[in-house]
């Protein structure tokens, strides 16, 4: 019996970690609202009715939440996949910009039959993102460059390059604030009419399931996880950790590509890239939060993405009653900080043991 409880405890540990972080994050966010002199009850109410509300009467708030959640699942998954291979990949943000560039460039091609053109847009978006992801992969594998530094810098470069090329060469002739528009036949169709919720969410969940299967039920996924958890054991078992790293970078690039495509081709009403890439910005970075909250696990990421999506959806409501919507970043930030100190419990335990004069081994 106790064995069963032990086993449950082991499985539940990461989930409990995330739940504690969520609670602390919400307490912190609540405090921030209170300290800034706003009505906590009102804020919570607004967050709630604009993200969930009563779906049986009005499904709209929920569709907004899921609209945000779709691409977040993929950007979160892209981070998680690399984390599983032992990499801290901050570059999803830049890869999403590149995907958008790929989509826009392909969209500008004229004279193709509709299905071919649609396919070209998809392939081009993914290919651009993968190519951008191949840079840190190559630098890591061949020169052992630190992937954190490389990907952060590549994000800046991607922003400048994509913003320049799109608004220099592919501006929308009717509206200077956006790029040319993705043709209607290449758009991801709506799931719920009269809302912004498209098939994005279905695509994202399907991709998540595929990656889940890949990681836990296939040989390459197994090799990737072994190499990411313990490179020494990987070498002992004849697994090349560098190959696993490269694979995870390339797969992450593909996921970022699909995420970018969802944003550009699956989100009404713009179906384009907005100036300063404002409709893309932050998706990759929020993905890190989603992945961490979801325990770097595909199934956890589904819930984490919906949660973060709900926060974003609810934030719109805060503005309506004069509460700065930036409050939700406090929630998100607090949660991530709590998750970023996973060993805090062990540390505290050890410190107490030391003060009590109990055995502490140092080496």
């Amino acid at each position: 019996m106790s064995a069963v409880i032990e086993a449950i405890k082991e499985k539940a540990e990461p989930i409990i970690n995330s739940l504690i972080a969520l609670i602390v994050g919400f307490i912190g966010g609540t405090l921030a609202i209170y300290v800034s002199g706003h009505d906590v009850g009102q804020a919570m109410y607004q967050l709630y009715i604009h993200s969930i509300g009563n779906p049986f009467e009005n499904i709209y708030p929920l569709t907004v939440t899921l609209t945000y959640a779709g691409p977040l699942m993929l950007s979160g998954l892209a981070f998680a996949l690399c984390a599983r291979a032992g990499l801290f990949n901050i570059g999803v943000e830049g890869q999403i910009y590149m995907a958008a560039l790929g989509a826009v460039i392909a969209a500008s091609v004229e004279g193709l039959p509709a299905p071919v053109h649609a396919l070209l847009i998809i392939v081009s978006a993914v290919a651009f993102a993968v190519a951008w992801s191949a840079i840190p992969a190559a630098l890591k594998v061949f020169r052992d460059a630190n992937e954190v530094v490389v990907t952060i810098m590549l994000n800046y470069i991607a922003f400048g390059v994509v913003d320049y090329i799109i608004f220099r060469y592919f501006p929308n002739p009717e509206d200077a604030t956006k790029s040319i528009i993705i043709p209607s036949y290449a758009r991801i169709p709506l799931l719920v009419p009269q809302t912004s919720l498209s098939w994005n969410i279905i695509i994202s969940i399907a991709v998540l399931l595929v990656i889940y299967f890949l990681l836990w039920y296939t040989r390459p996924g197994y090799e990737l996880r072994v190499a990411g958890t313990n490179p020494k054991a990987a070498r002992y078992a004849g697994i090349n950790p560098k190959k696993a790293m490269a694979t995870s970078f390339i797969l992450a690039g593909m996921l970022a590509g699909i995420a970018g495509l969802e944003k550009v081709a699956g989100l009404p009403p713009s179906y384009s890239v907005m100036s300063s890439l404002s409709n893309l910005q932050g998706l990759g970075i929020d993905g890190i939060a989603v992945s961490l909250i979801g325990g770097n696990h595909p199934l956890g990421i589904v819930f984490a993405a919906i949660l973060v999506g709900a926060l974003h959806a609810g934030a719109r409501g805060l503005n309506l009653v004069g509460i700065p919507k930036e409050i939700v970043w406090v929630f998100q930030g607090m949660i991530v900080i709590c998750l970023a100190v996973p060993n805090i419990y062990t540390l505290v335990k050890r410190k107490i043991a030391y003060l009590r004069g109990e055995e502490v081994v140092k080496e």
């Binding site: 082991e10 039920y217 040989r219 072994v226 958890t229 054991a233 070498r235 055995e359 081994v361």
Partner: protein
């Protein structure tokens, strides 16, 4: 006579994992002497001196400094009482200069004054180091001298050195010995921790020999000899009984190495031209104090480290620098010394660990890529049953297993690959008596079935009990290689300590 510099009384040390490192040790260090602390790996030498220098706390027992009882909770307190230890791996800040390292942690010391004082110290002691160069550009010998200088600068009266000659050239060693003698003549106490008999004979006044956490001999250096020290160091306790060895029918050469040269992580020659032949149905033991190139040899043979020069031939095929997967597929398996880092992925499940290294076997794959976890589980259950591995569930992480069961899991997995050669590195280290007996019996049974086993172990009893032939490794070379029964204990002890017989 005045009180000794340091006296430890009935000190017992039990590590949190249950290892008993010291079983009631009493010992004194006097001013003006060089005391040699001699013993094999795991004898407790370093643990004892870490207690004296405040890095570890004793589980039981008392510590006196100049006649006064003390309790240290951190090295700084010991340093204040004049006790300093120079560790085997010297903890310096690599991009700081020698001077900066020496002053690190000292408050209110002016650089110029310190420099003047250090120059005086160097003149007095003849200790020469470059103080204005980043430590990373200095040789290991120079770094050690900086550490010694640091201790002297802080006014220690008892200087403890842990295996100080490991990284020194012969000339540096000679200089170090001269320095130690001089410091002793100035009234300081020196503790020289070593396993090298020759060096202990050269530099010490008195020798204390530790074995398995107990003092087994206390002698004046003048009144002893290398033979006596060797037998004290390696004296054996018989606890195990083994199945009888049987000779097998046809004997073939399984693993042949020719003039193997390998470098270690720091770029030094760790293996210097080793040649041997491992035959079917024999256990070839490699004895020696750890750090004499055994690890590098094993890694080179198993594809984890590059061979610089020489050849490895397995069943007639040249496998020099082949990768680990290829080797294990051909039937050469490795039971790694560091099971928690190499043999297992501790956070992954038992089930996932069973697949480690077997993950390319078609029997566990559907369509060559999808893992058939049901088949793996079936296989895992069989191993667990056959090897009596105590495991709560196949879904538990490997770290939840006891050390013995972790090792059984690795052994079970590797043996299930149907090997013809097993390379086992310290296969029973840290295991309880029952698990040790289990693994050793298994090795003999496998030998009787015609498998060739290379047993690399720093546990001399293990090597002597199991091996048909034994090689003694010292500083990257084989001091000797012959049938086990042709050695005397004394001879082995001397060879391990680098004394030619």
């Amino acid at each position: 006579m005045s009180a000794p510099l340091v006296r430890v009384e009935d000190v017992v040390k039990v590590y949190p994992d249950g290892t008993v490192a010291l079983k009631g040790v009493t010992l004194e260090v006097r001013a003006g002497e060089v005391l040699g602390l001699l013993g094999e790996n795991g004898a407790g030498k370093t643990t004892l001196m870490k207690i004296v220098s405040g890095l570890l706390q004793p589980t039981k027992g008392r510590l006196y400094v100049k006649g006064k009882e003390v309790r240290f909770t951190m090295p700084a307190q010991a340093l204040k009482m004049g006790i300093g230890m120079v560790h085997q791996h010297i903890p310096l800040v690599h991009n700081f200069t020698g001077l900066e390292n020496i002053l690190l942690g000292l408050k209110g010391v002016r650089k110029e004054e310190a420099l003047k004082k250090l120059k005086n110290l160097m003149k007095q002691t003849g200790l020469k180091v470059r103080l204005d160069v980043p430590v990373e550009d200095l040789s290991l010998g120079e770094r050690q001298r900086i550490e010694i200088l640091k201790m002297l600068f802080r006014g220690v009266t008892l200087l403890i050195l842990d295996e100080p000659t490991t990284n020194l050239t012969p000339v540096e060693t000679k200089d170090l010995f001269r320095l130690l003698r001089q410091l002793a003549s100035e009234g300081k106490g020196i503790v020289f921790i070593s396993h090298k008999i020759k060096e202990a004979m050269t530099v010490t006044d008195r020798v204390v020999v530790l074995r398995r956490g107990k003092v087994v001999g206390e002698l004046r250096t003048k009144e002893t000899n290398p033979k006596e020290l060797a037998s004290l160091m390696v004296g054996r306790e018989v606890v195990f009984t083994y199945p009888p060895k049987k000779t097998v029918g046809r004997v073939e050469d399984l693993l042949v190495t020719k003039d193997l040269w390998v470098t270690d992580d720091l770029g030094r020659q760790a293996v210097k031209g080793i040649s041997f032949t491992l035959r079917s149905g024999e256990i070839l033991g490699i004895a020696g104090v750890e750090g004499n190139g055994q690890r590098e040899l094993v890694e080179a043979l198993t594809g984890l480290r590059r061979v610089d020069k020489g050849k490895v031939i397995f069943k007639g095929e040249d496998v020099t620098n082949a990768d680990p997967a290829k080797l294990s597929f051909k039937g050469l398996v490795h039971i790694p010394e560091d099971r928690q880092n190499y043999g297992l992925v501790m956070t992954m499940t038992v089930l996932e660990n069973v697949l480690l290294g077997l993950h390319r076997y078609q029997q566990f794959l559907k369509a060559g890529i999808v893992i058939d976890w049901n088949k793996v589980a079936e296989y895992a259950r069989e191993l667990v049953k056959k090897f009596e591995i105590v495991v709560r569930s196949l879904k538990s992480p490997a770290r939840s297993l006891s050390g013995g069961n972790q090792q059984k899991l690795i052994v079970a997995r590797e043996l299930s690959k149907k090997p013809s050669v097993i390379i086992a590195a310290n296969p029973t280290r840290g295991l309880d008596v029952a698990s040790t007996q289990f693994v050793r019996n298994l090795l003999i049974e496998l030998r009787n079935k015609g498998i060739g086993i290379l047993l690399v172990s720093s546990d001399l009893d293990e090597v002597l009990d199991l091996s048909d032939r034994v090689a003694v490794m010292y500083e990257g070379r084989f001091m000797a290689l012959k049938p086990t029964e042709q050695y005397t204990m004394q001879e082995i002890g001397m060879l391990m300590g680098g004394v030619e017989v």
